[in-house]
Amino acid sequence: MELLADIAYGRSGDKGDVCNIGIMAKRPDLYPRVLQCVTPDSVRRHLAGLVTGDITVYRLDNIEAVNVVMRGALGGGATRTTRFDQTGKAMGTALLRMPIGELS
């Protein structure tokens, strides 16, 4: 099964209860597929249970990357969440597990 990790790198971090994930196409020619696969809807479906708020996907055509910004994403934020991954460092790898066969 083809995963987002096959065509892109990703890294996540936190600000309060907002988690963002930078997703970078591994090659320029893969960027259009990244844009097709990484949408607010696909991210919401894949990370259901982890993210409760709005999701925005910003484009960075200059580096063939997108920035996924998710609100209500960390169980209240690093200081009050009961999650083990308090600062959302593994949210990016969670998204990289997303199957993309049917998305592009």
């Binding site: 890294r11 963002n20 249970g49 910004v69 209240g76 200081t79 969440t81 593994a90």
Partner: protein, 458 residues
């Protein structure tokens, strides 16, 4: 006229490694090193330390680090800019001056920057009609938490550091400045830029560059998609910005300490460009707005990357502020179930806890039960549990209103050590910890009075 300056980054957080920072001072050929010690929670921790002792409230690592790095910094004329003053830059300055005197650095000039602490101004601002809208939740007005507020700090910009550098400071110690300001400040100072006659593309470039290095090792192969390619991470090199200010704008080469481990390439720069950011066209900082969508990245080889095309816009008239308030407790525990039938024992263990919590009348605000090594990181996104694992580590965490409730959670997990199934093992339980809730908001720039002070070590 084309000018150049080299700036290193020496710390990403409170607790970071000291040796790579010392190596930067010794071998980096840098004029400045910036150090970040502060996370969102840190200010509340140190505000409470300061409340107990007026000479505390700054990062204790500051003195350990300076003792190690001052010899090389003095020998090579490296100026140090550190936000380790946390909630008490003035006390940190006194402690640093005493350390410098002890080490024999008479004549060293120690600067401190203050004004970020706005705890004493909250009520006046509220009276004047400011509503402190919570940027996470949209809630307006601090009424629901005001009685529990322990800290309030605005993210101030570079102006205090620039002032201290202009007054000849060799070391500048700040509280809650924006991380990027640790790097914007020396660029403003060296290149003679001002906010009176601002060039926002240049300042936007400085903000972008500061953002790229502010987490030190996180742009040189730490926390990286290409970590497997990073050489000798135990000798990781911290980043260096070699910045050029020319008639056509600002460009830079991002590199790392010569002879160090780690890696710098397009991926380490891209992954950090987006790290902990929101709208990449509007990276809002107190010094201006960085636009990351115009940056061009070119690999030069040998762990060097050229950065051009950076731009920005005018600084906002509001400053971000973080208000910390007491927000209950977290009780936590771990227990490891053994083969045979570790999953079955784990299920009964969780059932045990639910019953015991109910019997004790505990009603946690949030309760998390996940298996370390299975789904503690990715939750429901993780693949199903393996069919017959040799061991399973259950982690339980609950957020509660009171310390007593949190302690019940901790205690009941430990009871599984003896009341649980055969072969159940355990680690050391951690005591309940107080929760600091964070209220991110904006405050008017005009309400924040940044000042600085530089004193010579005698």
């Amino acid at each position: 006229m084309t000018r150049r300056v080299r700036i290193g980054s020496g710390s990403a957080y409170w607790g970071d490694m000291f040796e790579p920072a010392v190596a930067l001072a010794e071998r980096g050929d840098v004029s400045y090193i910036g150090f970040d010690f502060l996370a969102e929670l840190t200010m509340s921790i140190f505000q409470r330390a300061k409340a107990k002792d007026p000479e505390k409230g700054y990062i204790p690592d500051l003195l350990t680090l300076l003792r190690l790095i001052l010899p090389a910094a003095r020998e090579h004329g490296v100026k140090l800019i550190l936000n380790g003053g946390a909630a008490n830059p003035a006390a940190a300055g006194r402690a640093v001056a005493a350390l410098a005197a002890e080490l024999g650095y008479k004549g060293l000039r120690v600067g401190t920057v203050s004004g970020d602490d706005i705890l004493g101004q909250l009520d006046d601002l509220a009276t004047s009609g400011w509503v402190f809208e919570n940027l996470d939740t949209g809630e307006r007005g601090l009424d629901s938490v005001r009685g529990d507020v322990v800290a309030a700090h605005a993210y101030i910009g570079s102006e205090g550091i620039v002032g201290a550098l202009a007054d000849g400071a060799d070391i500048v110690i700040t509280g809650r400045v924006a991380d990027s300001a640790l790097y914007v400040a020396p660029l403003m100072h060296e290149f003679g830029w001002t906010f009176e006659d601002p060039d926002w593309d240049r300042i936007g470039a400085a903000i972008t560059l500061g953002h790229l290095v502010e987490c030190a090792e996180c742009v040189t192969g730490g926390m990286s998609n290409v970590w497997d390619l990073a050489r000798c991470p135990w000798d990781i090199g911290f980043p260096i910005l070699d910045v050029t200010d020319a008639s056509d704008g600002v460009s830079a080469v991002l590199e790392k300490t010569p002879g160090s481990g780690g890696i710098v390439n397009q991926w380490t720069v891209k992954e950090h460009l987006l790290y902990e950011t929101h709208d990449p066209a509007s990276y809002l900082m107190p010094d201006g707005i960085g636009d990351f969508t115009t940056l061009q990245i070119e690999e030069l080889g040998d762990d060097r990357v050229r950065l051009t095309g950076m731009s920005g816009r005018a600084r906002p008239e509001t400053l971000k502020a973080q208000i910390g308030y007491r927000d209950g407790w977290i009780g936590e525990g771990q227990v490891v179930f053994s083969w045979p039938d570790a999953p079955g024992k784990a299920r009964r263990g969780m059932e045990f806890l639910q019953h015991r919590f109910a019997q004790a009348g505990i009603d946690p605000l949030a309760l998390e039960m996940r298996f370390l090594g299975v789904d503690a990181l990715h939750g429901d996104v993780a693949p199903p549990m393996p069919t017959d694992p040799d061991e399973l580590c259950l982690r339980v965490a609950a957020r509660t209103r009171t310390r007593e409730e949190a302690d019940v959670v901790r205690r009941e997990v430990t009871h599984l050590w003896t009341v649980g199934g055969l072969g159940t093992a355990f680690g050391t339980p951690s005591p309940p910890r107080p929760v600091i809730g964070l209220w991110p908001t904006l405050v008017p720039r005009a309400a924040v009075n940044v000042s600085w002070n530089v004193e010579e070590v005698r």
